[in-house]
């Protein structure tokens, strides 16, 4: 049984009185321990799927099940302990007036988990930040360091699933490499399941086992990683996406 099961999910927003269908009947399954990628251009609905899982987007049809269970509405504390999200922009996703210590200890306080001191220090250590960063504010950190804090925060409750919404697109190439290495190491150490969104096929290829290509809110094509490297796409759209990333090929 798959850990994340999404069946004909639809999300409809209302913008200025007219409905905008951001996601139209998308189905996907992610197995325990798998890393699954969603690719597509902006506005294709890939981030909206992650937000729908977290209860942050208005679901208008279909079901989302995690571990076989339908998700309660609103999502309860048990959900937060199982699923956490890392957002795209580390400049916007950390509270600017909370110290790193407060940002990291808040989930513990909400869930009544003790031993805060040790857990915060350990979390910083796990993402490769020195312990004295605890008392800094986000503006005293670089983009890559902030994204490490965001990853540490997502891991505070020891979830089994991480939803990654373009976790490196706001970062430099060199810092991106460090962050991707960190995510891969954490996944191996903790047996995490990733559902990752990116527009960069090379990043997705490096991180994910299976890939779903999306366009205009619809699933276009699902393909395993090996098929991507061999350019074995069946649809024209997936092929054009691949062609646009040609300079990301090995040996190019």
């Amino acid at each position: 049984m798959a850990l994340i099961e999404i069946d004909t999910l639809s999300v409809t927003f209302t913008a200025k009185g007219r409905p905008v269908r951001a996601v139209k009947g998308v189905s996907l399954n992610v197995a325990q321990g798998e890393s699954y990628g969603l690719v597509g251009e902006s506005g294709s609905g890939k981030s909206t799927i992650l937000r729908a899982i977290c209860g942050l987007a208005p679901v208008s049809g279909g079901t989302i099940r995690i571990g076989g269970q339908p998700l309660p509405h609103p999502r309860g504390p048990a959900f937060s302990r199982q699923v956490q999200m890392v957002f795209q922009d580390p400049y916007a996703s950390l509270h600017p007036r909370h110290t790193i210590d407060r940002t990291l200890s808040e989930p513990l306080a909400i869930h009544g988990i003790g031993n805060t001191d040790q857990r915060v220090t350990q979390a910083l250590n796990d993402v490769g930040l020195p312990p004295n960063f605890r008392f800094r504010f986000p503006h005293q950190l670089s983009g890559g360091q902030r994204q490490r804090v965001a990853i540490a925060r997502a891991l505070m409750l020891e979830p089994s699933i991480l939803l990654l919404d373009e976790p490196t697109s706001a970062l430099d190439a060199s810092v991106q490499a460090e962050t991707l290495n960190l995510l891969n190491r954490l996944r191996a150490e903790r047996g995490l399941t990733f559902l990752m969104v990116s527009h960069d096929l090379a990043v997705i290829d490096h991180m994910c086992d299976r890939i779903l290509v999306m366009q205009h809110g619809q699933a276009v094509e699902e393909l395993p990683r090996e098929a991507l490297a061999r350019a074995e796409m069946k649809t024209d759209y997936a092929r054009s996406l691949f062609a646009a990333s040609a300079d990301r090929m090995l040996g190019a």
Partner: protein, 276 residues
């Protein structure tokens, strides 16, 4: 023909912790071509781009042995002359649409502002021109975007709006600071081909600032690689794979590749001695 020539540019900031040298002696010249400036954050590439427009506020200081644009001495030009240059002659596409668009003004008004104020264009004409500019950057529903507020746009849309805005006055030199970093690959390819077209058909010069070495190599004629405020290597884009400098090689190798191995990506070697 040389459009822009910069000799020994230095940008320094006096901070509480002492003098910070963001750019330390950068020289380059640019014709009607595409020059790429590559480096990590903090390497001084953005400050170099901003210096050309003299967009560095105190306590920042710009010093240069010479900085001329189309025969105009940019170091000596008055603030008034600079204002006349910014926009119609030299335009800059900023990095982040979230901070660079006016949040309390509809997109359409921002696009038309320059046309109405500077060119004294009628409302209808300016509207048509703005729609045309949005269409040129491949925005599917320009009428809707004209009525939208900046916060209603995605990053990619916002970035395209800014590019459209900068291209309206048809500048001679476009400084694009990470113009496609927030865009996905297909849009990125479209935006690059739009920029490419403009450089060729309008004979525009382009300074393309990016941290993505491969993208720059595909798109530019020449590449400057910056590290800690200095140019460590300058080379024709087509010879990038033959780059000699270890920093340039490091930047090339830290990107994941499709079909590449699953091992950890190589970390970038930052040897401070290279910047001396």
């Amino acid at each position: 023909m040389t459009l822009l020539s910069v000799k020994n540019l230095r940008v320094t900031f006096d901070t509480e912790a002492g003098v910070v040298e963001a750019v330390r002696g950068v020289s380059f010249s640019l014709g009607r071509e595409r020059l790429g400036i590559v480096g990590e954050s903090g390497s001084g590439k953005t400050q170099t781009g901003r210096s050309v427009l003299r967009l560095i506020r105190p306590p920042g200081r710009i010093e240069a042995d010479a900085m001329t644009f189309d025969g105009i001495d940019l170091m000596k030009a008055s603030e008034r002359d600079m204002r006349a240059l910014r926009g119609p002659r030299i335009a800059m596409v900023m990095q982040d649409p979230k901070y660079s668009l006016n949040p309390v003004m509809r997109v359409g008004e921002q696009l038309m502002e320059g046309l109405r104020q500077r060119d004294g264009m009628g409302k209808k004409e300016a509207h048509a021109k703005a729609i045309e500019a949005l269409a040129a950057v491949q925005i599917r529903d320009p009428e809707r975007v004209m009525d939208a507020w900046p916060h209603e746009l995605s990053g990619g849309m916002g970035q395209r709006v800014m590019i459209a805005m900068m291209l309206i006055p048809n500048p001679d030199l476009l400084i694009a600071d990470e113009p496609t970093s927030a865009l996905d690959v297909t849009v990125q390819a479209e935006v690059l081909s739009i920029l490419d077209n403009l450089v060729r058909t309008r004979g525009m010069g382009l300074i393309f600032i990016s941290h993505d070495l491969r993208l720059v190599s595909r798109f530019c004629d020449r590449v400057l690689v910056m590290f800690k405020g200095k140019v460590v290597e300058e080379l024709p884009a087509r010879d990038l794979m033959k780059a000699q400098h270890p920093y340039t090689q490091g930047l090339l190798n830290c990107l994941p590749r499709i079909g590449g191995p699953r091992e950890p990506l190589p970390a970038l070697d930052r040897n401070a001695a290279w910047a001396n």
